[in-house]
Symmetry: C2
Subunit: 249 residues, 2 copies
DNA sequence: CGTTTGATTGACACGAGTCAACACCAGTGG
DNA sequence: CCACTGGTGTTGACTCGTGTCAATCAAACG
């Protein structure tokens, strides 16, 4: 079985066996957590960087009113906060949504890894650019679409991401979210999330239950979501950009 | 007058005269643009990186429906898309909102600058982390607050950012947005933006007109916005992190 | 000057939130 | 074994925030 981080970075650049094993080496400190467990909390000093190996993790923030907003999902192979140790404290929290396995990595080790292997450095930069693009897409999603479109958009995004990792079983994937989680993701109430789900089911676009999502009509879902996968940059390739990147060995 | 980019990075790390002049040197290709002019468009190949020297710029995306969402504001000294050249095409557009002066920099020159000066590299990393944090805060803003709070939050954020640069005149700053721009920023209609502004004025929190915003009651505005400036990380300092950063000269 | 762009207003429609009640299920402990 | 619990999903009735449409007004501009 391929290492999850390697599998993820391979989307962008085919890593050599040596590079792959270097990544495996920095992932020695493994943490296993059950679902709904805090990994790191807002206002904590930012010391560690985490790599998600298996499971499902959410970034989120709370408002004093008790309202929670999910800011991003992490899927296997995702790194959280490369470079975050520059900051005094973390500005958001990380929680598992499903039982998860993470590697805790010091920023020193990660920096060494990137200094040693330019291709890995480029791949992490690519991953960070995608994260930024995804955050911007979520801003668009929340600001410019209504509930049905927002939810459809989330389903499309997670599908494309998992599919690129080979973690989607056809048009069917594990999505361990409660309706409340979904509501906190797209900024609506849980009651409305329930009704929005029903609407998507009524239109025969999806079925959802038992922590699995099944896409019954991808084209239709993408249309409702006005989904454009460009922002995931799954087509960017290291090889075509080599000339720009080989500069600093 | 200090170079805008130096002024910005100085918030994080005091740059030496040598470092400051190195930044000035890469900013030789200056572009001047009037208000409401496209700098770069979605789907264009990503070739250049821009540094905003003076003015006001917005990132935004359009939906096929014609709906526009503003994703971020750039204030003087902000860099747009360090590292973007890794990607095949840009996933959003950049437009001036006020007459602006920008420096067009090749990614090669920027990489050289960062390779040469570790402190500058750290400062750009810090700036990028802030941008990411700000994007996340906008997700929270759009997902978890109502119109009045959202608008108040935008006013607070821009105030803190401009103030840190010394560009706020007391509680008064230039904000060259139309009500339509404001509406596209916080995801509401222009009619509702107008009424939301009236509500903030009625509560004696702000006055806004003639492209200037005047904050009449900062405490009150922050309360309505539930504003927490933590995410801007204006307190992070290079000197306190030196031990982590001196590693790779 | 007319023309245009942005700001303002009122009437009405509609999307989404709230509250409350109920159903269902997996644990849990007596 | 069963009652009890807490979390999750579902539903209806009602309220409220926000969008839409259309008209008007003011200021900027060629």
């Amino acid at each position: 079985m391929m290492h999850p981080v390697v599998r993820k970075l391979n989307i962008f650049a085919s890593l050599s066996p040596e590079e792959a094993s270097a990544i495996g080496l920095v992932c020695s400190d493994i943490v296993e957590l059950p679902a709904h467990r805090a990994i790191a909390r807002e206002d904590e000093p930012a010391i560690n960087v985490f790599l998600l190996l298996e499971g499902f993790v959410a970034r989120h923030k709370m408002l004093p009113s008790g309202r929670r907003q999910i800011l991003a999902f992490m899927t296997p192979g995702d790194t959280c906060d490369v470079g975050v140790t520059l900051l005094a404290r973390r500005d958001h929290s990380l929680t598992t949504l499903a039982p998860s396995r993470l590697a805790r990595v010091s920023d020193v080790a990660l920096d060494h890894l990137m200094a040693e292997y330019p291709k890995i450095r480029a791949a992490f930069r690519w991953a960070t650019l995608i994260e930024e693009g995804t955050a911007r897409e979520w801003i668009l999603n929340l600001g410019a679409r209504e509930a049905v479109g927002r939810m459809a958009h989330v389903f499309c995004e997670v599908y494309y991401r998992l599919n690129a990792l080979g973690l989607a079983n056809g048009l069917n994937y594990e999505l361990p979210l409660t309706q409340q989680d979904l509501a906190d993701t797209i900024g609506i109430s849980s009651v409305h999330a329930n009704r929005t789900l029903q609407e998507l089911r009524r239109r025969k676009l999806i079925s959802f239950g038992d922590r699995r999502l099944n896409i019954r009509d991808l084209k239709g879902l993408e249309e409702v979501a006005q989904f454009e996968p460009t922002y995931l940059h799954l087509d960017a390739r290291y090889d075509e950009k080599k000339q720009f990147l080989g500069r600093r060995p």
